[in-house]
């Protein structure tokens, strides 16, 4: 039995997150009655520590190294997305405390669950074995279910959590069943490399295809791609708003990272990609359906939280284009997906941060009409929200524009995907309509009732940081793509 403790240093970000989560749980039990503000700072310290560990490990990760008998890998792609997840957790921990205090459910467990979910995401992205993938997904999802339902007095929160939990459990069933079929047809392989080496023999059995698609269905549930998106609007609407941002950004990004890695290694064989039944054509159709349905449904929403939920579904569609392009052999598609994930994460967190900011205990102000007059009352926040919405729509000075630009350019390199790019561009234009509805309401209409938002220094700091990140991603996209690009060439 060989075990080298130095291997653990490669996973310092994950271990720091878990350790800090346990510490918060213990500290919470001793903080009976007192304010939980200190616990949020513990969580923030954990995120900062994890970020430092990621930066420290960056130089050593130029070449991918696998650990623990091929269960986990450390490479640039994993570290890039680790950084994104930890940043998402950090921002969530900045947005959450004032919101939780205002709504009256400030528990230390909340902060611990955010850290545990992040640790699960980190594991998902490092997984090179279906078992470690399963463990990562479950760690992430279980914490996300709890976070969705932690608003104990809200019926919507409970409803969202139950729906999310049931659909999530269903998806896990698909994942495990798919794993079993892959295991059986490949002759006992569960590691990505092992599966890839056995594909020629395994494809003799239709069960292998079934297993492959079961696994993709499970991941489709997690990214809320059509037709596996039904849970998303209710869960996103019911969850406490900072959690919605965290779910829409982090959980989705983690599942996309898993899809990119899985399809890029285990199921990368040409036998599985091309062809009428290959995953490239299946995912291309799903991408078109996801974008279109998400956008069409978002147009009809008056509730800003639901609007952003449907918009996050449509963003899963754009991202699937990149996954398909990557499968068809476009080298620039993978960094484009990663850049899009990073810019989408910051933008979404920021937008939900503003939604969390605007309401208070008695009045959530979730409807587009409720946003009237914010532009004159609070110009700074209105400007930040405008920035986030423009970035979601893909308008130039923002990260969202370059995210779409890189993604569509990568897809244009493959002649089979031109139709998909046309669909995506039309969809982007449609989406600008409903994003601008909120902007119009903020600037061009007079307020009907006084604004009493949830104030908090950390919330302001979080909004400032996300706004800066969105602008920086729009000004220096090249640098970030280079970070992401050092992955794809491997």
């Amino acid at each position: 039995m060989s075990f080298d403790a130095t291997q653990l240093f490669a996973y310092a970000p994950m271990l720091i997150l878990i350790g800090m989560g346990c510490l918060i749980l213990l500290a919470e039990t001793f903080a009976q009655g007192a304010s939980r503000a200190g616990l949020a700072w513990l969580g923030i310290a954990g995120c900062v520590g994890a970020l430092i560990a990621i930066v420290a490990g960056w130089a050593g990760a130029a070449e991918p190294t696998t650990h623990f008998q091929g269960m986990l890998v450390v490479d640039r792609m994993a570290l890039f997305l680790d950084g994104t997840f930890v940043a998402a957790a950090l921002l969530t921990l900045l947005f959450a405390p004032p919101y939780l205090r205002e709504q009256g459910f400030e528990f230390g467990e909340f902060y611990a669950m955010v850290l545990f979910a992040t640790a699960g995401m980190v594991m998902v992205i490092h997984a090179t074995h279906l078992v470690s993938l399963l463990i990562g997904i479950e760690t992430m999802s279980l914490a996300a279910y709890v976070l969705t339902g932690c608003w104990r007095r809200s019926l919507r929160s409970a409803e969202g959590a139950i729906k999310y939990f049931l659909m999530g459990a269903f998806a896990t069933g698909f994942l495990v069943y798919g794993m079993a079929m892959v295991y059986g047809t490949t002759g006992g392989e569960l590691s990505y490399a092992g599966i890839a080496s056995k594909v020629p023999q395994a494809t003799k059995s239709p069960l292998f295809y079934l297993g492959e698609y079961f696994i993709l269905v499970a991941l489709g549930f997690k990214v809320a791609a059509v037709p596996f998106h039904m849970w998303a609007p209710d869960a996103y609407e019911g969850a406490p708003t900072p959690v919605t941002g965290f779910m829409a950004a982090g959980v989705k990004a983690a599942a996309f990272g898993a899809i990119v890695r899985l399809l890029g290694s285990a199921f990368a064989s040409p036998l599985l990609v091309f062809d009428f039944t290959g995953w490239a054509s299946v995912l291309a159709v799903l991408a078109a359906a996801t974008m279109t349905l998400g956008n069409l449904a978002a147009i009809r929403q008056d509730n800003v939280k639901r609007l952003l939920a449907y918009s996050s579904i449509s963003h899963a569609g754009y991202l699937l284009i990149g996954v398909v392009a990557s499968g068809l052999g476009v080298a620039s598609a993978k960094p484009a997906v990663l850049f899009y994930l990073a810019s989408y994460t910051f933008t979404t967190l920021g937008a939900f941060g503003v939604v969390a900011w605007i309401g208070n205990r008695s009045d959530e102000r979730l409807y587009v009409d409720d946003w009237a007059g914010v532009g004159t009352a609070r110009p700074a926040v209105a400007l930040a929200m405008t920035l986030f919405l423009l970035s979601l729509g893909g308008v130039p000075p923002t990260g969202g524009f370059f995210g779409k630009f890189y993604l569509f350019r990568a897809a244009m390199e493959s002649p089979q995907l031109h139709w998909l790019v046309v669909v995506a561009v039309v969809n982007s234009m449609v989406s600008v309509y409903y994003y601008l509805r909120v902007v119009v309401s903020m600037y061009f209409r007079d307020s009907t009732r006084a604004l009493a938002p949830t104030e908090g220094a950390t919330m302001r700091l979080g909004l400032l940081l996300t706004a800066i990140a969105v602008v920086l991603l729009g000004i220096f996209p090249g640098t970030v793509v280079e970070w992401a690009g050092s992955i794809a060439l491997k």
Binding site: M1, F3, C22, L25, L26, E28, T29, F30
Partner: protein
């Protein structure tokens, strides 16, 4: 053969239905035959304490379940070289992997125990 078997089963059921005397009574139609009266709907609300106990039980039950395979493999986990199958002697040095591993595992569960203890979830009241 199969037809004969199925036919025989059907024949017996039909015989019981048509030949046997049928005298239904209120007591016979009662859903429970053990003699106790129904005291309410089975869809009562259970106290949340039951779930709490079940969850806490599950955690520590799984801990015990994990300790068995660990104990069986402890010699191999603590040996840097190979364990001789006949003499059960370890060649090579001693590794603290097995011990460290289980200590980490128990440590995480002790955090859980401390948490439920402090949250007063272990007592019934």
């Amino acid at each position: 053969m199969i037809l004969g078997g199925v036919g025989f089963a059907f024949a017996l059921t039909a015989a019981a239905k048509y030949l046997g005397p049928s005298r239904p009574s209120a007591a016979k139609d009662y859903p429970y035959e053990c003699g106790s009266d129904v005291i309410g709907s089975p869809r009562a609300r259970f106290e949340v304490k039951f779930y709490q106990v079940a969850i806490v039980f599950l955690v520590f039950d799984i801990e015990t379940a994990f300790l068995y395979p660990w104990a069986l493999k402890y010699r191999a986990l603590s040996c840097l070289g190979q364990v001789d199958l006949q003499t059960r002697v370890c060649t090579g040095g001693v590794s603290f992997f097995g011990l460290g591993e289980i200590l980490v595992f128990m440590g995480i569960l002790i955090v859980a125990l401390a948490y439920v203890w402090r949250k007063r979830a272990v007592g019934w009241e």
